[in-house]
């Protein structure tokens, strides 16, 4: 026993030479050290150059070391793995920075009174005020948009999956794809031309909802279509073979089986348009008072409140660092939280509605 422990193990052919477990850490320390050294050696001013140099050195050194010890295949693996992790970090860092910054700036503004008061009579440099009017507006406008877009979208998806054949179905799919590329301001302009210019109406909340519905529709159709296609063909056939008509099969078998996916796609589509601003500038206007009626008179919304507080609407934003700034960040944070709540409830509802095995 002691002999085998003390004797150096001769690796078999199946065991290749590997870098030590701490290899990447050593390389990272060396790379950072070299980069920092280079910063002072060449008098680089910013830290960003140093960061990117360190990353590049890390990739080169690790790949080279791995190539010399482990061979070509493992070196390629190290290179690809490092590149993928770097891309992941590059994608996540901005997201985390934005969210943290909004949270840090917006959190001090949040209070019970912020959620229960409107901006009525509160100037940019006055403290107090709140986003109640804008929260009401956003919730109502998005709800109306959902009421318009979700049935149309889900029914379109059912048509495409269950009935759509030939040229007409292809045309529908094509236009859904085209719609998903429509810029939000164009959807706003369409409703603006049609309702406000054409029919001579004044801006009101539900006009914005129509534009939001146009933006939601392709998202709902595409994602619901995917969900319905996931329902196995077997289940439809099992239902037909029991002597069930097609429409009842769709209602009682296909939709319940796809329900969790449909809920997710609906809530994600809602979350997608909740922060939309461009069409609302044209269609809903903005008022500081509480307007509970989305069908008459201008109505505020959270994105529009940020816009207004920053002084972009009226042209006066007050003194730098004034209360208006906190309110703008507070409204932005509330919007982010709203979308977050929608996403989380989408996941919870989807889990509840998913078919269970036991």
């Amino acid at each position: 026993m002691t002999a085998t422990l003390t004797r150096k193990q001769q690796p078999s052919e199946l065991v290749g030479a590997r870098l030590p477990r701490t290899g990447p850490i050593i390389v990272a320390v060396v790379a950072v050290g070299l980069a920092v050294g280079a910063k002072y050696l060449f008098d680089w001013t910013g830290w960003l150059t140093t960061l990117f140099t360190a990353v590049a050195l890390f990739v080169i050194l690790l790949t080279a070391w791995s190539f010399s010890v482990e061979g070509r295949r493992r070196a390629k693996d190290r290179f690809a793995a490092t590149a993928i992790y770097a891309c992941f970090v590059a994608a996540v860092v901005p997201l985390v920075l934005i969210l943290t910054y909004i949270a840090i700036r917006g959190f001090p503004a949040l209070s019970a009174s912020f959620f229960t008061h409107s901006m009525n009579g509160v100037g940019p440099d006055d403290s107090g005020g709140g986003l109640y009017h804008a929260l009401i507006g956003t919730l109502q406008q998005v709800a109306i948009a959902a009421i318009i877009a979700l049935p149309i979208g889900i029914f379109t998806a059912i048509y495409l999956v269950e009935y759509g054949r030939g040229a007409f179905a292809r045309t529908v799919t094509f236009f859904v794809d085209v719609m998903s590329g429509v810029p939000s301001i164009v959807a706003g302009l369409f409703v603006f031309t049609f309702l406000l210019l054409g029919l001579g109406m004044r801006p009101f909340g539900a006009a914005g909802s129509i534009a939001l519905a146009i933006l939601m529709l392709p998202v709902v159709v595409r994602s619901s279509e995917e969900m319905l296609r996931l329902v196995p063909r077997d289940l439809r056939e099992a239902s037909y073979a029991l002597g069930v008509p097609k429409w009842r099969t769709i209602v009682k078998v296909v939709l319940p089986t796809a329900m969790s996916g449909l809920i997710t796609s609906a809530l994600l589509a809602i979350a997608r348009v909740a922060g939309e601003t461009a069409p609302l500038i044209l269609l809903t206007g903005y008022v500081s008072q509480i307007n509970m009626n989305p069908f008459s008179g201008q109505q505020a919304s959270l994105p529009m409140m940020v816009w207004d507080q920053l002084g972009k609407r009226t042209g006066n934003s007050g003194a730098i660092g004034g209360p208006w700034e906190g309110r703008a960040w507070g409204a932005a944070l509330t919007l982010v939280l709203l979308v977050l709540i929608l996403n989380i409830s989408a996941r919870l509802l989807a889990r509840l509605a998913a078919p269970k095995a036991r």
Partner: protein, 259 residues
Amino acid sequence: MAKRIDVENLNVYYTDFLAVEGASVRIAPLTVTAFIGPSGCGKSTFLRTLNRMHEVIPGGRVSGKVLLDGEDLYGPGVDPVNVRRTVGMVFQKANPFPTMSIYDNVIAGYKIAGDRKSKNQFDDIVEKSLRGANLWEEVKQRLNRPGAGLSGGQQQRLCIARAIAVEPQVLLMDEPCSALDPISTLAIEDLIAELKTRYTIVIVTHNMQQAARVSDRTAFFNLAGVGQPGKLVEYDETVKIFSNPSEKATEDYISGRFG
């Protein structure tokens, strides 16, 4: 109750592709008929024409006649939904509805179709069908559990219970045991022997021993080559097919000298 099936010179198409050509069979009531043959010879396709499930596939169509007690299933004005209520089907892969409990799966034919019955009537149907499928003793304690939680063999028997719950007159089975272990297969073969007293059964199988064990008559399908239509080569008493077939191709196939 059980009905006879007479197929006369049936051609089955997928769009323009002729999958089965000129098949004629006479299936007597209260018998088990087995369809055997190599993969792709059209036996499953042919089976699906017997309850108009073939046309569910886009481009699926037939020419010729399928007579159920003398009435043409493909006649003008015949509703495929009513055909499928009379001619039930069990599929190769067990496919209980994942959103439903065992109980709801059995009465799915009524529930989904919107037939209302009292709780007592449904209870009776569930017990009768599950007993009919030899599953009652195994699941009676957990009728409200999801059907997807059962084992593969139990799921297939659940699907059989679901098919017989709507009281069809003919039961089609498309390779019902192909995904099952020998013990579950035996359970289903025993079940077929029992169901024979009440239903006309047509079964597609790749297992020739199974065909020999369960069926009264056997039809052998074959195809001349890739892209050629499948044909009904021989249709006779099972005993004769497996002991003294008239066709050389049948003998080659059942003795394993095929191809």
